[in-house]
Structures are given as structure tokens and as C-alpha cells.
Amino acid sequence: MSDPSSRDDLDAWRPQEPSAGFADRVLVRVSAEPPRRTSSVRARTVAVVAALAVAVASAAGFAIAPRFRSSQGEIAAEARTQAPLGARIVGVLEPGARVSWRGDELVQESGDVFYRVEPGAPVVVHTPLGDVTVLGTCFRVRIEMNRGDLRAGAVGAALSAVAFVAVYEGKVRVSRADQAVTLAPGEAARAGKDRIEKLAGGAAAMDRARAAEEAALARAGQNAAESVREYQKRLDAVKEEKARLEAELADAQSKLDAKHGGAPKKSDYDLAPEDWAKLSQEHAVKFRLPCTLTSDMGEWPSATQLESAGLPPGDAAVVRDAWTSSNARVWAGIKPLCAQAVGSADVAESIGPNTCLHLIVDMADRADHDATRAAFGQVGAIRSGQATMPPNPSATLQALMLMTSEPALVESELAKGLGPDDAHRLLYQDKGLCMQSSSWSR
């Protein structure tokens, strides 16, 4: 079928697409149904392989639930455990986490759980502090009991517990009685006994807020130095929020200028060395690169999408190839860093590049906030020519350098097929093709 119009005609006979969560439904059946036509030798082999897999996973400090769960069940993690929690949800449970589920409703009684939810009907996670309602997304819920409750036992513990929710992708609504907040990617919330509030600083703030909770419990014994550190953390969070609002303001201003016929403003993501130098001082990074192409996007980009980006239909292959190459480059760089961060290549594979990037940075930030903040500053310094790459860069620095080098690589590849002007415009114009823009600071 070399003639494209003929292919186009045949493609008018549209097939049925797999519905959301199909793969997980298959896995549930694989788990639930006994092997068919299995010889005793094969059965023994399977048992040995399964036992080995669990043993290897445990030795690596990461357990993989040996059987797939059905539409209802319960799991309590003693080690870090990845498990399907129903048909459309995969959870990574930290030690001490306990979750039960029935269909699309889960109850998280305790602990720290990272969730990935396939798109579909809403999923609700009930916690002692409120409900978390989500569509397809990645998010984390951590429930903290105070130490007095732990000593006293479970009864009444929820009254003084605190739940934290951090969102990596999609949107999440945290609600209780007459209170509710909606969280976007990068945002986090704290649900205490009195109220639900957003945390400035997103997922990283979850960890800082935890430190603040502990600090509050022990404030009688705190010295002045600890207080200063705590105020510094709060100040960081405020600065981050300020940077985010400034970016939003600049974006709104740019749109207003365009609407009123003003000269096209340079994109905030089209960064010169002096811009990087400024970002370095603010411990911030920015990058804009192709979105991750997924199988449900079909033959992307369509003629209509190209037209809206100011390109002729014949440029589809150039654009698609550049996006595909970029996706592969990013994933090749991020995946090993992610596998190292979460302790499992399989988990890295299952959570994908976007969430992986957030996890790499968040986990590093949790381990050493000052070093992570320094890495953010280093990126701008290196990009502006004020510094060079250190000999043993941290995972955060490697990840951020990788992401911030990608726009130039994509632009260069696009320029071969589209010419330099169109390549640059496509990468930085507001109404472009599928792009993702990120602006982070620490």
C-alpha cells in the first residue's frame, strides 16, 4: 500500500480501540484463572520461577506482588512493594503502608503510597483525613500518625494524624465534609484534623511539611538554629510560589500583547546565556520540549494540527521523527537515573519519563535539600558558561542537564527538515504542536 490516498481510504474502516485499563484487566484474569493445559513439569517450573522472582525482588529491597489482585483485596507492605490495586491502579507501597480496595474505591489506612491510575472513571482513595478523587494520574498519599498516637494504639489516632497528597500528573481533588481543594501536577496538600490546605512548593513541600510537623511536636526542645532552618524552608517555598506566579504573569502578559497586535514576545523558554545566569541565581530551571507520544495519539501530527502550527501536511514525517527521537533520548537518559532512584528498573519502566523526572528530583530533595537546590543553581551556571559540568554530577544535575539540553537537539533535528526559522518557531510558539513546558525552582 504505497499510495497514501489508498491507505487513507482503507483506514476509513475504523477498528475498535482497546478500552482504558484493558492490559490490567487481562493481568487480573491471568492471575485469577488457573493455568490451562499445564503439565506438572511446567507447573513446577512456574512455581520455581515465581519463587525466584520474589526472592530476587526481596533481595533487591523491592517486592513485586507475586499474584495480580482481583477487583477487591487488601495489602499491607512490609518492604517497598509494587502491586496492582484493582483493574486500573498500580501502587508502590512503602513499608508500613496498608491499602484495601473494591473496584475503583480504595481505603488507605496508613503509610506512604505512590499511585498510578489509568484514565477512566474516577477513582477515590479514602483516608482517615478525607477523600482523594482522581482521574488518570500519578499521585502520592502519605498518612502521618503522631508519635503519641502510635504509642497509644490505633484508637482515635486519626484525630491527630495528618495526610499529605502530592500530584505528579493529572488532577486530584482532596475533600472532606464541606472542604475541598483541587491539585494540579506539582502541587501538594495537607489534610489535618481541622482543615485541608495547599502546600506551596508542591511534592517537595510534602517532605518539608513533614519536618515542620515533627518540629512542632518537639518545639519545646527546639533551639534557635532549628527555627531559623525551618523559616528558611518556608521562605524557599514562598520563593518557589513567587517564581511560579511570575511565570504565569509573564505568560498572561505575552498573550495580552499578542491579542493587541504587539510585536511577538520572545518565549520565556527561549533562553539566552544571560537568562540562564539569572535563573542560576534563582536556583531555577526552565525547558520546553516535545510531549511524550503515546499509542492512542494515532497518526500524529494530523494535517489539521500541522496547519494550526503553520506547517504544510508534507512536514508530518519530519515532525514525528523529531518528537520520536526526542522521546527516546529523554527516556534513555532518565530511565537509568529513575531506576537508581526508585531501586527498580521495572518500576521506572512502569511509571514513565515524566513521573520519573519528578521522582528523581523529589527523592533527591528529600534526602538533601541543600544539594538539590545547589544542583538547580549549577544548571544555569553551566548553561550560561559560568561553570563547567562537575566530574561526578548528582542524579538531579544529570537529569536537569539532560532536559535542558533537549530543546537545542530537537531544534537542530527539526531544522534539517524545516529550516532554522520554522524549527525555532515550532519549538517556542504558543500555539505549537504537542509540547511540554516546565519551570522549576528550589
Binding site: 475504523r14 475498535q16 492490559a23 519502566e349
Partner: protein, 206 residues
């Protein structure tokens, strides 16, 4: 309307698509397939995600859209899971062709068990890209015409046509999928294309 398609279906010689690769039909990598053979659940999930679209495409074009398709697709992957340990990574069959063989045989069995209820095929329901209404209507009509014409084919010819046109299998592979001699597969594909041509020409002249 479908003149160009009629002409091309009429002119296409059997076997000319031999070993053609469907656009975007990248095979799962060898390491993941090896893990599938060991019944690694995460690897098998990747296997399902990689191949769910071609399996749904084949089954829906063999059976018509509906609940049966999801059931048969699940059954296809369950059987694949059972049989993967016997799949030869160094053998002549690609994993996709091997899986489509399972799906095709399940579809043929299902069609034998019951004559497929005729449905109004919503062939263009999700035409993408905000095409103009006229273009959308045009594609809808073509899609329905092809689906109706394919529905008139005997099951084995329909399978040969779908495998060749939508999954880019060559005659040699179709013969293996249908478990028939190569010449038989060639004849079935030829007859399927002839009948499709005639049916579509007739529709064009209505």
C-alpha cells in the same frame, strides 16, 4: 466516491505486500519477550500494551465492533500467556504474527459458533482531526461500504483480506496463520480482493 480504492483493490496482485511492515508496528524487544516467557507480570503487561491495538483491530474487523471483541481480545492474551513459554525467540515468526494467529483462529471459531449479527457499523464515528463535515461524511461512507463488503466475504477470505490489508502480512505469513498451503492463501486473498472490488464498484454505481 470509492473509485480510487476500487481501482487499487482490483489492480493489487496477490503477494505484493509480502513481509510489509505496518506503520508503527514495532515488535517488542527481545529482552522483554524473554521475560514474558518466564511469566514476568510487568513484562507481560508491556506485551499486552504493545499489541492490544493490532489485536483489537483484527478482531473488530473480523467480528464487527462490540462486547465480543473485548472478550476475544482478553482470551487471545490469556492463550498467549499460556503459550509464550513455547514461543521461539529465534524462530521465523514475529511475536505480532504469532499473536495475530491466535486472534485470527479465535475469531474464526467464534464466527463458526454463531453467524454474526448484522450491525450498523459506525465506521467513521471517531474520525479524527476535526475534518470538515463533508470530508467526515465521505470517510464514514467509505468505511461503512468497506465493512459491509467485507461482511459478505466467507470467513477465511475475510481473514486473508484483513491480515493482508490492515496488518501487512504477506501470503507466506497468511498461509501460516490460517494453517493452509501458500497457494490456498493466495487464492483466498485474490478472491477476497475480487469480491471487495465488485462489491465496492456496485456500491459506487448505486
Amino acid at each position: 466516491l470509492p473509485g480510487s480504492l476500487v481501482e487499487r483493490v482490483m489492480m493489487r496482485a496477490p503477494g505484493m505486500d509480502a513481509h510489509a511492515q505496518a506503520p508503527g508496528s514495532r515488535e517488542l524487544d527481545r529482552a522483554t519477550l524473554a521475560r514474558c516467557k518466564l511469566r514476568d507480570p510487568l513484562a507481560f503487561r508491556a506485551f499486552v500494551v504493545r499489541y492490544e491495538r493490532p489485536v483489537f483491530a483484527l478482531l473488530s474487523r473480523m467480528m464487527g465492533p462490540g462486547v465480543d471483541v473485548e472478550d476475544l481480545a482478553q482470551e487471545t492474551f490469556l492463550r498467549a500467556f499460556e503459550a509464550l513459554s513455547r514461543f521461539d525467540l529465534d524462530g521465523p515468526a514475529r511475536a505480532s504474527t504469532w499473536l495475530l494467529t491466535i486472534a485470527t483462529r479465535l475469531a474464526l471459531d467464534a464466527r463458526k459458533r454463531r453467524r454474526h449479527e448484522t450491525r450498523e457499523l459506525d465506521a467513521g464515528a471517531s474520525v479524527a482531526d476535526a475534518a470538515t463535515p463533508e470530508t467526515e461524511r465521505h470517510r464514514l461512507e467509505i468505511g461503512r461500504a468497506i465493512a459491509r463488503a467485507a461482511d459478505e466475504l466467507p470467513d477465511d477470505q475475510r481473514a486473508a483480506f484483513v491480515l493482508a490489508e490492515f496488518h501487512h502480512l504477506g501470503v507466506h505469513e497468511i498461509a501460516r496463520v490460517l494453517d493452509v498451503p501458500e497457494n490456498t492463501a493466495k487464492t483466498r486473498l485474490f478472491r477476497a480482493r475480487e469480491k471487495m472490488r465488485a462489491a465496492l464498484a456496485s456500491w459506487r454505481n448505486e
